[in-house]
Amino acid sequence: MLLTCLGLTCLAGPGLALGAEILHKERSLYSNVMVTRAGNTLCLLFNVRSNRRNQSCMDTKYPKKMIFAYTKMSMVSLLFAPDPQHILVIGLGGGTLPTAFNQLYPQARIDVVEIDPAVTRVARDYFAFNPTSHVKVFDQDARVWTKRANLLDRRYDIIILDAFNGEYIPEHLMTQQYLEETKSLLTANGVLVANTFSISDLYDHESATYAAVFGKFINFKIPESANRMVVVPGKSVPEEQLLTRANALRNTLAPYNVPIRRYSRILIRQRDRRPDWDPAARPLTDQFAPANLLQSQ
């Protein structure tokens, strides 16, 4: 276990650590949902044998403390939308992000779209996720939900894309059309953060798709994680202001274990970087989306 965790791909992660105790196991319509506990670490796993990081963990002693890099990295959204009123999270998992946003901004309306009702149940029963009048979960396909949200003219200051199935991101949630539908849900200064960890050919196609829809975006990566966060700010925020905001958020985010000042410095360095993907790669569309076939190419 230790060995597998040394490399770039800390595959199974703490969820399947030796001696982990299985608290709940369920075969839902969309995946195999499993809750494990090892010491103080409670984890939600979606596919036991899957070698991808589609899981969510919580420290029961310090429930605010974020364990995974991608969750912490998602918090850079606050640098671009410092006072969010409406937040959309696609993909619930253990509910880490909506719970944190709700604690930080109790007045904000948070909408979460999660296709699998079993995941919503498990998040509620084991991970202290608490839907309230301000935190709503829609048990729907994100594509269908997004189309309808557009008809209803919903707008969000922060949108987090974090929907995964047993393999990767569902193909119809990776296309140019989907991203365009999502883009039109953003307020003028709204920020979009997408969690990705594609490799090989898919990395090029996925990046080209984001570039086709959003133009320039920040390719936010940190050395200790294989995840790549696509960060699309509504408007460019000057360096000074980002650092000031990071300083202001520093103490607030400390219990969540989010090194926001370090992230802001990395972001500033990375935002003017040249694309590290093949710019000639073809964007994924509803017409052409062999995404999960490309992943294995």
Partner: protein, 227 residues
Amino acid sequence: MRPNSLHLARDNLYTDPVVVLIYFLAFTGGFVIMSLELLGGRVLAPYFGSSIYVWGSIISVFMLSLAVGYLLGGKLSVRRPNMRRFGVIFFCGAVMLYPLILFSEPAMQWVFTRIEDPRFGSLVAALFLFTVPTIILGMISPYSVRLLVNTVEHSGQVAGRLYFVSTLGSAIGTLMTSFYFVLWFEINTILTGLTAALVLMACLALIASRGRTDTSGELKPSATQIT
């Protein structure tokens, strides 16, 4: 070919090109049906998702349409079956399939704004989009049975062979579409390809019928005229 060898010849896979052609047409019909069904999932996904109920809608609509197609194809085969009409079935299939490329977006948009439940939304959309072409494609199998069967004792064998080739076509259509076509082409390009395949089959059937129909319209196999 001697007239009295007609019945035997029609059951002979190796000597009569028209027999081979009919099997090949049935194979292509099976191929197109399943390729279309798989693409159906992709076509509906942007509006209705790709959950199990979307597949439920698609498969139900295809099964129902094929059922109706079998009935109609059988009915049509009673009076004066011939290669020309067989070709017309393929041609109609192509004509009904092609509009998918042009009208599936507005049709789905229309359904989407009227039906909120994605289960019934996907069912209605699948009915709109796939019923007519699939009914027509369903007519191919019973009609080809009629074209090939001449004797009662061989009818089961002929039907068995036809099920074999058309189901084999379905399996290969499924694999090719899901493994390769979606990786190589856009959905609309694949649909255009399927339409073109049906048109080509229609032409082959018509060419075969020109070579060998008499005034009664009855099929008269003759190897020399075709090759």
